[in-house]
């Protein structure tokens, strides 16, 4: 479904990602781990069009999406969340979710300005849809609260709900459990598994909390300094000598 072919990306002279390849089949959940600065978020930025790769090709459902503008890529069906939450803080939770449905809506400028019935109906439908998603993420008690005033864990939920309203085929989650306590993180894990089944989603997940990523991913890619260190099942990765070395350092030799 998503295919990244030998992608390399430079920031000036710094090689952030080197020769990265991945092939994700529909409805797989893939983990992406690595120490800080390994290039994980850069890969997300390359997929979603925030950066254009220096070399290589990215295709989605056999269509080349390399270097397309972010909003076009979202319209192809790839959507993401952010490591540092990016909500529309002063807008309410409901509005945040409704914004993401924008490109699926059809009412033109004129019918919006004149408040034609078609406009009103579409607004109502979108609101109902947004409310439905808010319910799934247990946000229905804060629909009209500014999103920026919510506690951290709930802001994450708004972000995921917002991403899902775009009706994506593929979801990229950038450290969804960051800043959550173990209990919240495990709740989130269950939620991710559930939505993956309910919405037939393919998921690529960056995560530092090992219990989360080990519990949910069927395959894990380990990155270090932009290079792929290892690929395998969670079990294989846990015992991979190179991975242990990257995270814990080399054993001292006497």
């Amino acid at each position: 479904m998503l295919r990244i072919d030998h992608v390399t990306h430079y920031f000036g002279g710094l090689r952030a990602v080197e020769d990265f390849c991945i092939d994700i089949a529909p409805q797989q959940i893939i983990g992406l781990i690595g120490p800080n600065g390994a290039g994980k978020t850069t890969i997300f930025n390359l997929i979603t069009g925030v950066y254009k790769p220096t070399q290589g090709k990215i295709s989605f459902e056999d269509e080349d999406i390399t270097g397309k503008l972010p909003y076009k890529i979202t319209q192809h069906g790839i959507v993401r969340t952010f490591q540092n939450i990016r909500l529309f803080s002063t807008m309410t939770v409901l509005e945040n979710i409704m914004v993401a449905h924008h490109y699926r809506m059809k009412s033109g400028l004129l019918s919006s300005l004149m408040r034609l019935p078609s406009f009103t109906h579409e607004e109502e439908d979108t609101e109902a849809l947004a409310t439905k998603f808010a319910k799934i993420f247990k946000l229905d008690d804060v629909l009209n609260v500014p999103a920026g005033s919510l506690p951290y864990g709930r802001q994450r939920r708004v972000e995921i709900a917002r991403a899902l309203v775009t009706e994506p085929k593929m979801l990229l989650l950038d450290e969804p459990a960051a800043g959550m306590n173990p209990k919240e993180a495990l709740e989130l894990l269950d939620l991710i598994k559930q939505i993956a089944i309910d919405f037939k989603l393919t998921i690529l997940l960056i995560e530092h909390q090992m219990p989360v990523v080990m519990g949910v991913a069927e395959r894990i890619h380990v990155l270090d300094f932009g290079k792929t260190l290892a690929v395998g099942t969670p079990k294989e990765i846990q015992n991979h000598p190179k991975v242990i070395e990257a995270y814990l350092g080399e054993g001292a030799k006497i």
């Binding site: 979603t48 925030v50 503008l69 972010p70 909003y71 979202t74 319209q75 959507v79 993401r80 952010f82 990016r86 909500l87 529309f88 803080s89 002063t90 807008m91 309410t92 409901l94 509005e95 409704m98 914004v99 993401a100 924008h102 490109y103 809506m105 009412s107 400028l109 919006s112 300005l113 004149m114 408040r115 034609l116 019935p117 406009f119 579409e122 607004e123 979108t126 629909l143 009209n144 609260v145 917002r162 991403a163 775009t166």
Partner: protein, 338 residues
């Protein structure tokens, strides 16, 4: 469409009708003299300018510093049409002049909007700082252009030079209270409807977080240009009204300092509040008129007033709040529920 299906709208319409009748009657009975009426008209014109600039700077989070440039463009377009094309003079009956005036207002809006589109399309692909620089430049270019355009008009026997550095004079007085009142209400209504639609939501999302908006499938360049063009269009319309109340135009009116006046109204009223822009435009127009007797000193007082207001209310008079009647009923109900 059932425009009067809800009570709030009915009350708002009634209230405005009563306001209109009261002011008209007070004018006819000369409680309000022509001078006061003129100030009321100027207040409404400035409110259109402030609200349309707020759409660009406050709601979409862009930074345009050339609003007066669009205003004067509209003014000149409408002025050329009424004086040079239709040759309306003070002798033309008002009933005959009115349709031509409406046409001139629409043309003014269209031309300003088009100019906004031509400027916005290339510039809004870049980050916002460039828009500030380009709009400052635009204001100057407009000033220079109108400095050069001059005409000879045959005014029934004698030929008069108009345009150029001496400005465009002899514009007929067509901006009556009724016309301005109607245009003012329509402008506010249209901008309000835009803001409370999927398009307006997209613009506010861009202000809140451009990257996130882009990644949620919003074509950010398109919506920035859209907000900019709508803002410019209404600036042009306001310019047309202004030209036909002060009856002359001067190239310097499109300059940077004039734009700053409208910026002050937007920031004072509150970025992202239609109500705030209206209050600030009304208030500042009235204050600067009442301070007219003390001459240049009024600019000092004006400045002090601004400093005090900014210290006491850094988010502007209204912040992001709105008067209830400026919020569509459905939006209001949502907030009552909580």
């Amino acid at each position: 469409m059932k425009p009067f299906s809800n009570k709030a709208l009915l009350f708002a319409a009634l209230g405005l009708a009563v306001l209109y009748v009261v002011i008209t009657v007070l004018h006819k009975t000369e409680v309000l003299n022509d001078y006061i009426m003129r100030i009321i008209i100027l207040m409404m014109i400035n409110a259109i300018l402030a609200v349309s600039l707020n759409l660009i700077n406050g709601f979409t989070g862009l930074f345009s510093v050339g609003h007066a440039g669009f205003m004067i463009t509209g003014g000149y377009v409408a002025g050329f049409i009424t004086t040079l094309v239709f040759k309306i003079t003070s002798e033309t009956p008002y009933a005959a002049a009115l349709p031509m005036f409406i046409l001139a207002i629409l043309a003014a809006g269209a031309v300003s909007g088009l100019v906004g589109f031509l400027i916005g399309l290339p510039v809004l692909r870049l980050s916002d700082d460039y828009l500030a620089i380009v709009t400052i430049g635009f204001g100057e270019i407009i000033r220079v252009i109108f400095n050069f355009i001059s005409f000879k008009v045959d005014r029934g026997g004698w030929v008069q030079d108009v345009g150029g550095p001496r400005g465009l004079s002899g514009i007929p007085l067509l901006s009556s209270f009724t016309v301005v009142f109607v245009v003012f209400l329509l402008s506010i209504l249209i901008i309000r409807n835009f803001i409370y639609s999927r398009h307006g939501r997209a613009c506010i999302a861009i202000r809140e977080n451009e990257v996130a908006a882009h990644l949620m499938g919003i074509n950010i360049t398109k919506y920035k240009v859209m907000a900019f063009v709508i803002g410019s269009t209404f600036a042009g319309i306001a310019g047309a009204l202004l030209a036909h109340i002060i009856q002359m135009l001067h190239p310097t009116m499109g300059g940077f300092m004039k734009s700053v006046e409208y910026l002050i109204m937007v920031y004072l009223g509150g970025m992202g509040s239609i109500s705030g822009s209206i209050i600030a435009a009304f208030g500042l127009t009235a204050v600067s008129e009442f301070l007219r007797p003390i001459g240049e000193l009024r600019m000092v007082l004006y400045g002090v007033l601004l400093v005090i207001l900014m210290l006491k209310m850094p988010a502007g008079i209204m912040g992001r709040k709105e008067f209830p009647f400026l919020v569509p009923l459905k939006e209001r109900q949502k907030h009552v529920k909580n």
